[in-house]
Amino acid sequence: MKQYTKMMSAMAMLFWFASSALSPASAAALLGPGDRMIPDNEQGKIIRQGQRLLSDTRRLLPQYVGAEMNCTSCHLSQGKLAFSSPFVGLSQKYPSYNPRAGRDVTLTERINGCMLRSMNGKKLAPDSAEMRAMLAYINWLSADYPAGKKVEGAGIGTINKNLKPDSVHGKLVYQRACAVCHGDEGQGLQRKGEMVFPPLWGEHSFNIGAGMARTYTAAAWVKQNMPLAAGLNAPLGQGKVLTDQEALDVAEYFTHQPRPDFPGKENDWPKGGKPADARY
């Protein structure tokens, strides 16, 4: 019976893949409400401000952001894209147990975790207008997801953890599929003083405390989301062109390039359970 269910779900997956490949436009492109639904009132202004802070983070919060990154560098399409760790549904998911912290964390704490690690920056005050605006946006996105309702496309999907990464091959994948935007030296691309494509390593990239610095986490995200403009699928023509092995190899390559240290790393995983691809 279990076998049968497994087979059925595999077939359903196959069918889903085939149909999405054949008619990429027919799948709903984004999770959550469209921006036109943002209410035209004071609360709407706060929601919009939160969205802007999350999408234009480096420019709007320079004193808090050390890396040339925006939150939406990873949480694509303003946090509405399935399998790019969407914001949609997070309001009901938190507080949630976080193994890295060894305790339950609030959404505010989780955002500040990103500020310290992925953004290589500083915490926002929990009661600051900026933090409240970010939460207002995420709450607005999550309104249709009461506790227990599943978000299709939550998280970043999975990658086969039995595969072994090959960094030498990863460099070739990088040069073929990534360098056109992220640069030969992983430096990203700036235009008129604004970041367009984030640096993947070096002093302006995320630090080793970020989830994206872990090989298998990065590989799963890359497989789903990179490169952009690779196909006709909405909303960004993103992903699904690299094999698991290619995604893993390229992830191994770029995650292990030089990048900033994470002060406080010794406090992570206080109760054990540190994943094998953690960087420290």
């Binding site: 436009a25 921006d35 303003q78 235009r191 403009a229 196909g231 006709l232 909405a234 909303p235 960004l236």
Partner: protein, 443 residues
């Protein structure tokens, strides 16, 4: 015995030379066939054999490109040189029947004698013969009768005569004119056609309709006239552009690679770059750019694009639009949608990213009076050409899940921001274009 050795000596004397000439001619013919982009129509998409079969929708029904491999039964293997030249230049088949003007013989009429000989050598000896019967046209009577085409040819096709160099112009200009008017048959798409499907102008001397931009196959082939938006600027010593135009270098890079710092080929032009233009020698592409650059300010009688406002007003408006978006002042529903669905790639300033994401500012494709091609690329998406230079075909996703209203809003925003001043896009325009596309493009 003596006779035999004489023959052998004669053969030895003649044959190597003959073989060498043939090889060179075939090689030249291959280059010319690429310049003529024969493969785009005579091979089915995704194949390289010019054995025909690709269908073309015409106002009267479907026609199919024919087998032009040297197969003696189903191809053109029995064509003499004279018959080959007559078909290419005059649109008359070996059996005397006229060809549909989907075959650009009004342009090919200009091909020189020497080039025609090389093309013949290539088509007879340079490609493998493939046996494949030609498909009959799907055109109902009375339109299926071919004899009226004789009248059409008499009325509209130029008398086949090789290009005559203009003595008032230099060699580069003449080379460019020869290619543009002839083999490259740019006018087949870029020159508007009259009611009898004839191109309204075949050379720059025929007036301002020449290469003035035209609707073709649901896309819009941009104006190639030097009209100050995306034409080629007049030659300047420092190689710079005047205002909003592309420089000649921009144009050359576009033809060779399908993209440049401003824009990228989409729609039917993708095939032209992939199959033809990328293979042209740089001096030939330069000649094309140079020739086009000399249509100084000669705007078409009914310009395809909207005149750009004066530079200072444009600059002010550009700054306002960009500053508004950067400050979170989204002043219309279109602006909201632009930031949600477009800005990640095309950016707040609408300028995209050089060679990666096309600019929406100073873009002829954005400013054309007809927004059909813009609507179509939003609904269907598109891919840049793959060339020897760029192996990755960057794509614009199909955003068909957006409603007609939202697409109309966002395109109207794009057409009126950063100094752009093109007419609003109506919801009915989007609905009409959506209906012409495959079912997958429904919301």
């Amino acid at each position: 015995m003596r006779r035999f050795s004489l023959l052998a000596a004669l053969l030895l004397a003649v044959f190597p030379a003959l073989a060498a000439t043939d090889t060179a001619a075939i090689k030249r013919g291959e280059y010319l066939a690429r310049a003529g982009d024969c493969i785009a129509c005579h091979a089915r998409p995704g194949t390289t054999s010019m054995s025909g079969g690709r269908g073309f929708e015409t106002p009267v029904g479907m026609i199919y490109a024919t087998n032009i491999t040297p197969d003696k039964q189903t191809g053109i293997g029995l064509y003499s040189y004279a018959e080959f030249a007559k078909a290419v230049r005059a649109g008359i088949r070996r059996d005397g029947a006229p060809l549909y003007p989907a075959m650009p013989y009004p342009s090919y009429a200009r091909i020189s004698e020497a080039d025609m000989q090389d093309l013949y050598a290539y088509f007879m000896q340079g490609i493998p013969a493939v046996r494949q019967e030609n498909r009959k046209v799907d055109i109902p009577w009375p339109f299926s009768m071919r004899w009226p085409l004789h009248l059409w040819i008499r009325a509209f096709a130029p008398k086949p005569q090789a290009y005559v160099a203009d003595p008032g112009q230099d060699a580069r200009w003449n080379r460019g004119a020869y290619l543009v008017q002839g083999l490259a048959h740019c006018g087949a798409c870029h020159t508007p056609r009259g009611i009898a499907y004839q191109e309204k102008a075949l050379t720059e001397k025929d007036g301002r309709d020449f290469l003035a931009g035209a609707s073709v196959d649901g896309w819009f082939a941009n104006s190639l006239r030097n009209d100050g938006i995306a034409g080629v600027t007049p030659l300047r010593k420092d190689g710079s552009s005047s205002g909003r135009s592309w420089t000649q270098d921009d144009f050359i890079v576009f033809l060779k690679t399908g993209r440049n710092n401003h824009s990228a080929a989409f729609g039917a032009m993708v095939d032209v770059v992939e199959h033809s233009m990328q293979y042209l020698r740089t001096d030939d592409v330069e000649a094309i750019a140079y020739y086009l650059s000399t249509f100084n300010g000669g705007r078409a009688a009914s310009p395809a694009t909207v005149t750009a406002p004066v530079a200072s007003a444009t600059a002010a408006k550009t700054q306002t639009s960009t500053a508004d978006l950067a400050a979170g002042l989204y002043r219309s529903a279109g602006a909201v949608s632009y930031m949600e669905h477009c800005a990640a790639c095309h950016r707040k300033d609408g300028e995209g990213v050089e060679r990666i994401f096309p600019a929406l500012t100073s873009s002829q494709s954005v400013l054309n009076r007809s927004a059909d091609a813009l609507i179509r690329i939003v609904l269907q998406g598109g891919r840049m050409p793959v060339t020897q230079h760029d192996q990755i075909a960057l794509a614009m996703p199909a955003l068909a899940t957006l409603s007609d209203q939202e697409i109309a809003d966002v395109l109207s925003f794009v057409r009126s921001s950063w100094g752009n001043q093109a007419p609003q896009v109506r919801v009915s325009d989007v609905s009409r274009v959506r209906k012409t596309l495959v079912p997958a493009a429904k919301p």
